[in-house]
Amino acid sequence: MEDIFRIPRLALTVSFLILGFAALASICLGATKIPILNIFEFMWDSFFTSGVNSSLSEIEKTIIMEWRLPRFVLGALVGASLSVAGSGFQGVFRNPLADPFLLGSAAGAGLGATLVIVTDLNVSFLFLGSVQFGAFLGALVAVIAAAIISSSSGRTTASLLLSGVAVAAFLTACQTYLMQRNFVSIQEIYGWLIGRLLTSGWGEVLIILPYFVFCFSIIFMYGRELDLLRMSEDESKALGGSPLQAKIVVISCASLMTAVAVSVSGLIAFVGLVIPHVVRLAVGASYRIIIPLSAIIGAAFLSSADTFARSAVAPAELPIGVITAFIGAPFFVLILKLSKGTI
């Protein structure tokens, strides 16, 4: 019998190819026209030989190495984080429509981060910086609130979704109020609400990377527990799972991931919902496969969306949240339609 939980080779290869193309596109496209061959030559030189006899100007080199490359990596990490968090939430809530955005955890993270910034609190905790810790607490509180409200009204998909939307709306309102009171410019609020990738250099990448690696590893390891949770909780216990522990760990890690992603990107909608579904439709429903593939496809999706945002109307830019929602919202409707009766 073949190994049923190994990620299918074909799917893995295709996913990495897509991510590779996304990387190439994001390095080659942008507001500045730089000949692609020269870029290749430069990349080759800087990675494999120490020679710097490139035909690119200093500015062009900086654009590639300090703007396009980190922005690709940041987009990939944010996309992977949101997708993995989304699959985690879907597993824990046994609900295909759970996602960081719809559950209110993204909004909670935003509010937490803003509160810390506005009040200038110092609440750093263990390895977490103040802003990340605030965002993490906010995300956690939001998810738990949504879960409690929904369980008091019947634990159905609809009730979870509605309570998530209510929590998100409430928290976003608090957030907008706080930002307005503190004279943050309208553009900043708007940019935050719609989601954007802000980078200059590798700073943001370095913030998000350790959290991503940590949380991804944990959630990946709990993939088997999430598979058990697809049974009833009692069955999962009888089979040797620890559903309560799994729920706590996965919700915490997914919240942390969301929190850190949101603290650099604002509210990017639908990635966490759409990507796990695409993976599920394409390769199967085991979380041990969904989680790693969601990470790769999520990374490719968001970084491609960003490349599009940067180059479609160059030298102007589109906010990336507009693109993800533009693709995500119809997809969301499609899922609702396809799963008629089952959720």
Partner: protein, 287 residues
């Protein structure tokens, strides 16, 4: 050559502007002989104009953001979400506003309060138009004409000062989202008048006025001056540290202009001060 012609045209029209004063613009509801004595302004820009044309005595209340001139009678009235009832409690005989939000004008007119709606100006000429219009409506036409003439003269001299200079490129940074005013916004139109190349123009193909620029485009277009409304020295330090930005001329020569964000976002008489600051900064090392 065509551009030069357009600008020359603009210049000439500006000079004649103050003299001819024949604009068939918005129709004032208030009769000219019926001088309003209880004016409420819920537009910070229009408040500045009212006080500059000597109508300050007639103003009984201004909105919560109108902070200039300092002796303007600030009230809790919201400029963003104006409330008709709150406005009515001041028993105004004229309400001056820039945004007709939620049918405000119609509502005020129904309860017998005159209004004048002057939306955000898109260029210098429109600012002057609005000044004259407010002069007419409030019965301060002479002072309004004086003000317009004075602004016109100053602007004309600034324009002619800049005309012979190198066409420096500028980048106006609102925040780290890289939204920036193009010539289709009134602040951007000032850069145009001053013979400055605003890098946001190229990104505003749809004419929205505030395009979001790609950061690498800012880098590669190498602006000679960066305008930073209301930014702190820490913000500037951070800006200089953005990768590659040390290669930008403006950063190399430290040619930043930190201006009062109110001056840079209101279409009032102080726009001349803004223009002056821009010219002063851009002339720094140019000879």
């Amino acid at each position: 050559m065509k551009k030069l012609f357009v600008e020359l045209n603009l210049l000439i029209s500006l000079i004649f502007l103050g003299l001819t004063l024949s604009f068939p613009t918005f129709l004032a509801i208030a009769a000219a002989n019926n001088r309003p004595e209880r004016i409420v302004s819920i537009s910070p820009s229009l408040t500045e104009i009212l006080f500059a044309i000597g109508a300050g005595q007639q103003v009984v209340a201004v909105d919560n953001i109108s902070n200039y001139p300092p002796d303007a009678p600030t009230s809790p009235l919201s400029a963003m979400e104006p409330n008709m009832e709150a406005i009515a409690t001041f028993e105004p005989d004229l309400v001056v506003l820039s945004y007709d939000i939620g049918g405000l004008v119609k509502g005020l007119n129904t309860i017998g309060i005159n209004t004048i709606l002057l939306p955000a100006a898109l260029n210098f000429e429109e600012i002057l138009n609005q000044i004259i219009e407010l002069g007419q409506v409030t019965g301060n036409l002479d002072q309004a004409r004086e003000l317009v003439e004075e602004m016109n003269t100053e602007m004309t001299s600034l324009i002619s000062m800049r005309k012979s200079k190198v066409r420096m490129s500028v980048y106006h940074e609102i925040d780290e989202n890289y939204y920036s005013p193009s010539t289709n916004s009134f602040i951007g139109s000032i850069y145009r008048l001053l013979n400055l190349h605003n890098i946001a123009d190229q990104a505003d193909k749809d004419g929205v006025g505030y395009p979001k620029l790609s950061p690498e485009y800012i880098l590669s277009s190498n602006p000679g001056m960066i305008i930073l409304p209301g930014k702190t020295p820490e913000y500037v330090a951070k800006l200089k540290n953005r990768p590659g930005w040390s290669a930008i001329d403006a950063v190399k020569q430290e040619r930043f202009l930190i201006i009062d964000p109110d001056i840079g976002s209101r279409w009032g008489p102080r726009i001349v001060a803004f223009a002056k600051a821009v010219v002063a900064r851009s002339d720094l090392d140019e000879n």
